[in-house]
Symmetry: C2
Subunit: 282 residues, 2 copies
């Protein structure tokens, strides 16, 4: 009985998050505070430029301010860090997003670390990660937080479930593993050196694909009834999951596009509003 | 053919670590630096007092200085934080150990956070944890680092292996999961809400028991040939693993006592020496 999976509609989840932000933004406005996200783009990678533009547009539509900083390809780490420090000190900026990836000549970790924890709305600093892992974070990384928000919206419980996360990057695989663990899931983190990946995925009640390889997760890797959350976004609007093949096997699945992506952006906006609420213009 | 497992002799590993420290301590001495560990004990729990005394004695035997601070049971969080700040600012102190657990009236996390990252030789701060998870830490938590040191000493490779960690505490289960992941193991983190724990442990090439329950891990939970690392230390010198039952099933196993425990102390000494080498008297 290959019944089609429940579609986890990211657009709907994103809209419901943004809906809750509207009156909070209005209340801030009455106090003379316009939440503002600064985006920093280094170089001229076209898809990075597109992402940054999408985020700026999303801010604008909701009445969140945005400040766009574009730096040339040959920017040094020191120059980028200095730019971030200026944004840290700017009282009208509540959140800072450094678009990933930066050109290879820059020490990305050093640049991320320069973002002050109060403005790290994208959840990229090591301290932000640790606070996420210990359940103390104001602003966990946006994509992991989006995955948890989708689960919450659709009342998918993590407690006692076995979650298999494929990927271990500092802003995706590691924090989503930590967040699922804090929700009382049993968590297995897999990666490129994992042996027997399909058999491990077959154990999962919840599969998170965060590997950056198009249509990597196969339908026959799934336990019937698994929940599939696809954080991948590869060229051609393709996720990390073979969506068609998984549709008849999963009990619920995020599509790509219109799955995790829009919720990630809504989460970034939410964090920016929360930063403005928490820290004001200082 | 129930062949007995290789005994992973923690005393031997600890001695070999301490052996490497001797000439480093001497070299520091020639520069007028005596590495010094400050231990902070709050209240009068007898086993905590014993642990602190053991650590102080271990320092003394090796020529590492120790400073013993004992605070009364009714110390406030603010007083404890103030004590830690004074130790942070004391140029003759290179490492600070706050003995866990502190009395329930104290905010232990806040106290841990007060330890400056340069002196966090026990690896208890959130920033220290994050740096461990990202493979950047100077001083990962001592027990996880001890487990990795035992594996290294006995040439037990983690890469590509499936490690099952039972426990998710901030200074044991979480960091040892992170460190094994960074060694390219596939890591499953289990805990009190995990369902079907025995079946998960049966998948493991490497089992880390960090649960704090005497003889919890049973012999029939093991895959034949698994490596068993027992970080438990329960009343009566009993580990978290049913040692006798696992001995005929595992390929290698740490005893309790004389397993992970002595290596944890040797790691603490090593970190103190490294802190003195790195930061000197400042």
């Amino acid at each position: 009985m290959p019944n089609n999976a429940l579609l986890l509609d990211g657009t709907k989840v994103a809209e419901s998050i943004k809906e809750t932000l509207k009156e909070r933004i209005q209340a801030l406005g009455e106090k003379g505070i316009v939440p503002c996200l600064a985006t920093v783009l280094v170089g001229s990678d076209p898809s990075s430029a597109t992402y940054v533009r999408m985020k700026g547009n999303a801010c604008r539509r909701l009445g969140i301010g945005s400040r766009r900083v574009v730096l040339p390809e040959n920017t040094t780490t020191e120059e980028l860090v200095e730019t971030i420090r200026e944004l840290n000190e700017d009282p009208a900026v509540h959140g800072i997003l450094l678009q990933h990836p930066v050109p290879a000549s820059i020490d990305e970790r050093e640049a991320f670390e320069a973002i002050s924890i109060e403005k790290d709305v994208d959840g990229v600093t090591t301290l932000g990660y640790a606070r996420t892992a210990f359940g103390l974070a104001d602003f966990p990384s946006c994509t992991p937080a989006a995955i948890l928000a989708i689960m919450k919206h659709y009342r998918i419980e993590a407690e006692g479930k076995h979650a298999v996360v494929i990927g271990r990057s500092p802003i995706l695989g590691k924090p989503v593993s930590a967040m699922l663990l804090n929700e009382n899931a049993t968590v297995t983190t897999c990666h490129s050196r994992t042996r027997g990946l399909p058999d491990l995925v077959r154990l999962a009640d919840i599969v998170v694909a965060a590997v950056g390889r198009p249509r990597f997760v196969q339908g026959d890797w799934l336990k019937p009834g698994a929940v599939v959350l696809d954080a991948g976004y590869n060229p051609g609007n393709v996720g990390d999951v073979d969506y068609e093949a998984c549709l008849g096997k999963a009990s619920a699945i995020t599509p790509v596009p219109a799955g995790v992506g829009p919720v990630t952006i809504a989460t970034l906006l939410k964090h920016t509003v929360e930063a403005a609420e928490k820290y004001g213009n200082r």
